[in-house]
Amino acid sequence: MKMLIEGLRGLGRETQAILTRLGFIARFFVALIRRTPESFVRASLTLREIYFSGVLSLAIILVSGLFIGMVLALQGYDILSTYGAGDSLGVLVALSLLRELGPVVAALLFAGRAGSAITAEIGLMKATEQLDAMDMMAVDPISRVAAPRFWGGMISMPLLAAMFSAAAILGAYAIAVPLIGMDSGAFWGNMQAAVDVRVDILNSIVKSLVFGTLVLLIAVFEGYDAKPTAEGVSSATTKTVVYSSLAILAADFILTIFMFRGV
């Protein structure tokens, strides 16, 4: 009996801690959104972050996209051709990329490349009292440091996801047409006929915006919330990658239920 009560108490404490933390994150998100106008008035700050999180992630996004597209073409053709549907390869590739792989894999890569860098950078600024110094100089660190990183990433994320899908489709084409010998007209033509702007492309953009929000909120918050020590910063960086990956996959499941049920 006593053990049961103790167990329940522990559970309650855990739940309370998690809820409190979610509350903190929500308040942080509101603070971030309220600083939005400043990020765009001082566009140079946000542009700099687009360079750091977007442009510098481009290489890994394009290379990964190319490989995924090539693998997708090899596997997809192998299966489709046993049903005599080899001509539909373009459709399979385009739909699986636009609907799922593009936004999800790009966001996972983005979390590992840019999210972790944002957390480490902000955490280090906190550990070396740079954020305190800013606050003491009457400069709000949320609008000077956090908001531009958030919005720079938000602008980069859908563009990176689109580039990822484009690179993957080119990769698939490179395998399907020159290597396997598929007809180039069938590859592009069937793809064009099957892809719907609203269902596929718009939903793809919505997904990458949602994933971007999650990754960037987690990355910026973890940096801001890091313990101001070397261990604190490194554990915050790990948390960013783990939490944002889980958040991306969970959100993808929920979004997919709403977007593609019965379509």
Binding site: L124, M125, T128, E129, Q130, D132, A133, D135, M136, M137, A138, V139, D140, R144
Partner: protein
């Protein structure tokens, strides 16, 4: 509405603790007269940095009043607080320079943020401030190329960029070699007199600070234990102050932490 008083800042019966259970400061009162250099001394963890945070409005007192330039700091809105902080320069213990900016841009940072000046004017101002700390030649360096003493001086240049009314220094001498230490000490005094500001410095370094300050507060157990001019302090009979300024290992602050009798610990078996 800020009336001119002889003190730039005051602490009146201030009590403060970071958590409910423990008071760091317990009804402490201090005054900081305009134009003076004032040192706050005391053991580690006695609340010296906390006093600076109170003065800059980073934390608010549980009881009592902190006022700056005739206004109560706790009653300021965020906007007013930021307006107040533009008049305060804060030198962090390790400089807290922005690692992604050059020396020049670090010093330019508060100027760019708060004043809308043409580029040539910013350049002149920054070089003037760097010149005041003797580092005009270092303007194009990055912060990771600076020695500890140089970083401290660049941070000092940044802190005085907006000509503050009050300069707060958190342990400006820690971790410096004897030469840099003397340089920083002299700079604090010179800048104070040249800019007509008031300086408050928190320090352990008795010898260096007694050379440059006008007044000293000794803090301990949440209160002012002793205070006076360096002259008065060096002739004090107060046992705590004597122990502190002469660096004696044992005295009112005991060398040994509270523990059972030695014999009991060694021969009495297990700890109770």
């Amino acid at each position: 509405m800020s009336e001119i008083t002889s003190d730039i800042a005051n602490l009146t019966d201030v009590s403060f603790g970071y958590d409910e259970s423990r008071l760091i400061l317990d009804g402490i009162s201090m005054s900081f007269p305009r134009g003076k250099v004032i040192a706050i001394m005391g053991g580690s963890g006695c609340g010296k940095t906390t006093i600076l945070r109170l003065l800059a409005g980073q934390v608010t007192p549980r009881l009592g009043e902190v006022d700056f330039n005739g206004r109560s700091v706790a009653r300021l809105s965020k906007k007013e607080l930021y307006a107040m902080r533009r008049q305060i320069g804060f030198l962090f213990q390790f400089g807290a320079l922005f690692s992604d900016l050059s020396v020049f841009e670090n010093v330019a940072f508060p100027i760019r943020e708060h004043l809308n000046l043409p580029e040539e004017m910013i350049r002149d101002l920054v070089l003037m401030k760097l010149n005041a700390v003797g580092l005009r030649g270092a303007a194009s360096l990055f912060t990771n190329e600076l020695s500890g003493g140089m970083a401290r001086r660049v941070a000092l240049a940044r802190a005085i960029a907006l000509d503050p009314l009050l300069m707060l220094y958190d342990e400006p001498f820690t971790g410096l070699d004897p030469i840099s230490l003397g340089v920083v000490g002299q700079l604090i005094r010179q800048l104070n007199d040249a800019l007509g500001t008031t300086s408050v410095l928190v320090t352990h370094d008795v010898v260096e600070s007694l050379k440059i300050v006008d007044y000293v507060y000794f803090i301990g157990k949440g209160c002012v234990l002793a205070s006076g001019t360096p002259e008065e302090i060096s002739h004090t009979t107060d046992p705590f102050v004597k122990q502190f300024i002469h660096g004696e290992p044992d005295g009112p602050v005991p060398l040994h932490m509270k523990a059972p009798e030695l014999s009991a610990d060694f021969f009495g078996g297990a700890h109770a």
